[in-house]
Amino acid sequence: MTRKHDPYRFDVVVVGAGHAGLEAALAASRMGLGTALLTLNCDTVGQMSCNPAIGGVAKGQIVREIDALGGAMGILTDATAIQFRLLNRGKGPAMHSPRAQCDKKAYQFLAKLTVERQQNLTLRQEMVESIEVESGRVAGVRCRGGIQYRARAVVLTTGTFLQALMHTGEVKTPGGRGGDVAATGLSRSLFELGFELRRFKTGTPPRLNGRTIDFERLEPQPGDSDPVPFSFLTDRITQNQVDCHITYTNPAVHDIIRDNLHRAPMYSGQIQSTGPRYCPSIEDKIVRFADRQAHQIFLEPEGRNTLEYYCNGISTSLPRDVQEAIIPLIPGLEHAEIMRYGYAVEYDYAPPEQLRATLETKALPGLYFAGQINGTTGYEEAASQGLIAGINAALAVQDQAPLLVDRSQAYLGVLIDDLVTRGVDEPYRMFTSRAEYRLLLRHDNADLRLTELGRQVGLVDDQRWARFETRRDAIARLRETLKTTRVRGNSLFQWLRRPESTWEDLLRLEHAFDREGFSRDVITQVIIEAKYNGYIGRQVEQIERFRRLEDKPIPADLDYRAIPQLRAEAREKFERIRPRSLGQAGRISGISPADMATLLIQLKRGGSPASTVNPLDPDVTTPILGKLERQSGESACST
């Protein structure tokens, strides 16, 4: 498909090489398409701009899903992490969430190497300034200096770089990340194409030199002794792990912050845009939870070959002198040196209702958005969108049907559906509570949910597929064995379902059953299925109901203005979102059952004409009922 000799002609161009761009470019090129990955700086491919951690509750599940589909994030994390923890171990298996501290530089270098090694993929340093359009379709991009790239699909993953402005106190610096520049031209191009842009804000904490931290005084937080890997390709984690440390703020710190609130850009009015509530700055925490005497700070190492520490918990945009005043008041940080000051960054995003569930823009065929440009936060959220956008861009170029992952299949399905259906009013992060079917969307079964889809689109290679088949078949075999082996009237599976019974009890119960060849993860999988059995059954029923409406399509060209009975609000929302199914239409906020009934009727009207046969019409049934009454006589009135 690609003319190799032309260095500016590709099937797919991906703009931005962060976590979203990386996955998009790797997916498209692995699916066989000539792909260019354009970045402001080749040295920052896959850079972790904020904290040095991957995963966490709900986010860890997303990384496992990315991996199950054939994405890169899980493999990169397993190879470069310096601490692994499975969060929520004390809770049910659906809540177990892998999290890792990564060596930032190692992660980034491996990401770059992975890109460099990838066939069909060209990494190039460019500043993209506009989107090129021909006959209503995307045709490529134009870069600084007038260079033009031609492509049939373009994926924009601009992160926080669009018209980015960093704030530290009163000081404002253009740039999307400390030490980097901002992308200035692209916003104008998007605006001229008719895209709506709005602004969000996010923040980072100061980073400290570990030589100047008194770790003796701090509480260490070690990794797990049995680390759980992110990738289904990783057998076990063998590297040594490093500790994080925990310390706390105190009333003296809070007093200084309170006295200087007027100098914080969020409070002085210098920043107007919305920041995330779940990732508040320390000044926010102190204002909103005034009665708290202390806030936790996690000191997270940025890597093995650096002493830099990330102060998770005190993200701030207060001026330098205030940051310098509060750090020494924190236990263990009395002599700590700040290496990089905290800052807030404001950036443009494009409200994601402008997208289809493929992440293609509705307005401009061939143009895809992924990551923070869609109003999300988080490496994992970005990467999963990049993967889906990259896959769909590639499928579209190949004239294949798109890959749509729904809410019942994956967190990344929940993520994309929430974005395109409900939009965002603060930077969007995934939580397990956003998923209706979270008992099924577990980290342990991500491969069972998604690897076949990854294989269908051509992203799962033979090695991954072979491993998957082995595991899937072993699980099925063990499940079957347990269900067919009966002891005292009950199957072993039924025994296992009892809240109090364990796998070891089962082994004692029935020595005869063949447990050869079942690995620990296979056994775990079947135990979870048994323990959650009744609840999983309920969720499966809910999913069947959900699917019935999800499978009822709404024509893409339905003219909502021609439905006079729709309320103005409903019409406006349907017009904007253009839901692809009845299910999606019902999830739009503010849509009532009456709106849905109107829509149902309209869809029917568009279909077959109403028949006139009407056996149960009141006019017809009344005689039948009259007859009934005569038949029943007085018998029905004798109570």
Binding site: V57, R85, L87, N88, K91, G92, M95, R99, P276, R277, Y278, C279, P280, K285, R288, R292, H295, Q296, N312, G313, F431, T432, S433, L439, P499, E500, Y535, R545, R548, L549, G586, R587, S589, S592, P593, A594, M596, A597, L600, I601, K604, R605, S608, P609, A610, T612, N614, P615, L616, D617, I624, L628, E629, Q631, S632, S635, A636, C637, S638, T639
Partner: protein
């Protein structure tokens, strides 16, 4: 919310007209219509599914009722039915409490309570009726949609709205706390919710729900008669009119303003239809505790009215008549017309009456009958509205029971949360749906989240 309109569900509703009648019926449509109708139905015929429209006579077991209820079940195989689906009707005695029980049985066996207009919607979707008729029904759904909840609670559960809201609030807090512990395990100072505390809270919420369900049942009008409330300023002759409409002296009357302190109710025949006529204290500013109570009764009754008779008399002209409660139909009635007649320009649409001479009473009865019939035709059946509220409360209670059981069995918080959200969904049908954003809002309000 949307799932409530799924055309594949089996739906059921009381389908006979309101008010006492000789025969009443419950209509069921959907895949399981026959099974739901025939479960608990004893007849000489076996309960095999019919191949053509068929009528079976027999008796019906109804929960809470010892003798079997004589009943007829009519079965129609789809698609040649009104809704295009399998349809069943249970015809039995027309008493509303019985029909409500029959319906409850159907819901227990897996039917969902039909939304208003839903049978018609299905009829359209299956091509059985044309667009014009479907739209007429849609208009009804639409008009009712915004006010349905308020109306339902006002009609049947006056005073219940607040406690249901409060309960929902408590459950929402509970879910937010559970979810905060699940989603922010490592990045907040959320105090863990002890299992004992959780069990207590579930138990007390379930008790509140039981109490609410009982109150709702008591509030439910036994005969389901429409409520017609006589209202107006003190001394407007309300009680005299009340007696005149009844045809006998039930209320104490006197020329003194403020004679009626309590409210009185009586069944009244208005041209072949029985309504519940309610006499209330005059609308006035209370001067003492008894009057305060009288005013509270008055407001309660007016709030639950299906129809208000707003009375004005020549000698109370200066007093302001009560503004009809939002959405409640009202009739303007001039009383004591033997003492003087209003200026025709002020009373063009009013009915002029005199309890002393009997003038206008025939017209008034006819007017009441007409308006009550109209409002019932438009509105949901009062019975089914009440039943729907009750279904939701019962559904919420079942979910809470299941949450408690999960907790006792040692199940995790994520499983308890599943049931709690189900309970919230049920309450949401009565007092507004809860979406994930509501839960997140609470989490971020209450807990300091974020590293």
């Amino acid at each position: 919310m949307l799932a409530d309109l799924d055309p594949e569900d089996t739906i059921a509703a009381v389908a006979s007209p309101p008010g006492p009648g000789v025969r009443g019926l419950v209509r069921i449509s959907g895949r399981n219509a026959w099974r739901i109708a025939l479960d608990g139905f004893r007849s000489e015929r076996d309960s095999s599914p019919p191949r053509r429209p068929e009528v079976r006579r027999g008796a019906l077991a109804v929960e809470g009722l010892r003798p079997l209820l004589p009943a007829i079940v009519a079965l129609w195989p789809g698609p040649r039915t009104y809704t295009g689906q399998d349809v069943a009707e249970i015809h039995t005695v027309g008493a509303l409490p019985l029909l409500t029980q029959v319906l409850a049985g159907c819901l227990n066996r897996g039917a969902r309570h039909a939304r208003s207009g839903e049978f018609t919607l299905r009829a359209f979707l299956s091509g059985r009726i044309d667009l014009t008729r479907a739209e007429a029904v849609l208009g009804v759904i639409d008009a009712r949609n915004s006010t349905q909840l308020d109306a339902a609670l006002r009609q049947l559960a006056g005073g219940l709205s607040r406690p249901i809201h409060d309960l929902r609030d408590r459950l929402l807090d509970l879910v937010a706390h559970l979810e905060a512990n699940l989603d922010f395990a490592d990045e907040s100072d959320v105090d863990p919710l002890g299992r004992a505390a959780l069990a207590d809270e579930l138990q007390s919420s379930a008790e509140t729900l039981s109490a609410l369900t009982d109150r709702l049942t008591r509030r439910d009008r036994p005969a389901g008669n429409p409520r017609v409330v006589v209202s107006g300023p003190p001394n407007a002759g309300k009680s005299r009119l009340f007696n005149a409409l009844l045809g006998h002296d039930r209320a104490i009357v006197s020329p003194r303003a403020g004679t009626t302190r309590d409210y009185l109710t009586a069944a009244c025949d208005v041209g072949g239809m029985i309504v519940e006529l309610i006499d209330t204290a005059g609308l006035d500013l209370p001067r003492d505790p008894i009057e305060t109570q009288a005013q509270t009764h008055r407001a309660d009754q007016a709030g639950q009215a299906d129809l208000l008779l707003v009375c004005t008399s020549p000698d109370t002209l200066t007093a302001r008549g009560e503004l009809p409660h939002l959405d409640t139909p009202a009739l303007s009635v001039w009383t004591k017309c033997d003492l003087g007649r209003p200026d025709p320009s002020r009373a063009a649409a009013a009915i002029l009456t005199s309890a002393a001479t009997g003038e206008g009473l025939v017209e008034l009865r006819a007017g009441i009958a007409r308006l009550v019939r109209d409002s019932n035709a438009e509105a949901d059946l009062p019975a089914s509205t009440g039943a729907r509220c009750r279904d939701s409360l019962v559904g919420a209670k079942v979910a809470l029971g299941s949450a408690s059981q999960t907790l006792r069995d040692g199940g995790g918080e994520e499983l308890v949360a599943l049931d709690l959200r189900l309970a919230l969904d049920e309450l949401g049908k009565v007092v507004g749906a809860v979406v994930t954003d509501d839960i997140l809002d609470r989490i971020f309000q209450r807990f300091c989240i974020g590293k």
